[in-house]
Symmetry: C2
Subunit: 140 residues, 2 copies
């Protein structure tokens, strides 16, 4: 095995495995996966939730394309590979206990495979309670 | 067993189980849980990721307090119960394949148990690539 790059500026060629300093902070589920919340960087809209293993995170960090592990197809999935609806990665953060990733992206086209802007557009379970805010209409 | 309320206006007394029409759309993991992305409703900041079973979702919908299942403590956890850092629930959405919940809240105080505003404040894995945006400085 060759040496492992551990700088923040890994190239894809250098980054053959995920930076061990990052890998050590990840808390994976029984399948080796961590949920990744994907958010449009400028509007703050939550687009989707994907799942990453170490390799998907490595690819996301090194290629700056949102890349996930497809649990249904059991394969890596670079968002937009077939649809063209790619995600340019602006920022990646890890949460306080290392078991959730937050990915800020610039999404090209709709994020959802249904053609909706986000995966959360269609099914509203609860809306704002008007009685909680007598002034009304100020919530985003 | 008594009748089950199935309106959107369930009171806590009436909502003894989660609305079956919602329960039928949920896709739970092997532990019966669904990840819940929690977002500040007006700024769009992602605050944390919690986990809900049917009962946590029922409590969240009926009490309008963000309520989760603590995997470490194996108990329900109404955010802010002890800290006072409660979440007033503004909106709840389900994603296109029923396996992720998005909760828009009005967060009182810091969302993270570390005292940080969000659980994603401390650990940045990748920041914006300045070369990708020659104009610079426009990303949120």
């Amino acid at each position: 095995m060759g040496p492992v790059a551990d700088t923040g500026q890994m190239t894809e060629a250098a980054g053959v495995v995920l930076d061990p300093a990052i890998a050590a902070r990840l808390k994976r589920n029984a399948d080796g996966l961590v949920p990744a919340v994907v958010q449009q960087h400028d509007t703050g809209r939550v687009l989707m939730l994907g799942w990453m293993d170490d390799e998907a995170l490595r690819r996301t960090l090194t290629t700056r394309r949102g890349t996930y592990w497809s649990r249904s197809r059991q394969e890596y999935w670079a968002k937009g590979e077939t649809s063209g609806h790619v995600q340019r990665v602006v920022e990646v953060r890890l949460d306080c206990d290392g078991d959730t990733i937050l990915v800020a992206v610039d999404q090209t086209g709709p994020a959802c495979h249904t053609g909706a802007d986000t995966c959360f557009d269609a099914d509203v379970l609860l809306t704002k309670d008007p009685s909680a805010d007598p002034a009304g209409g100020v919530d985003g």
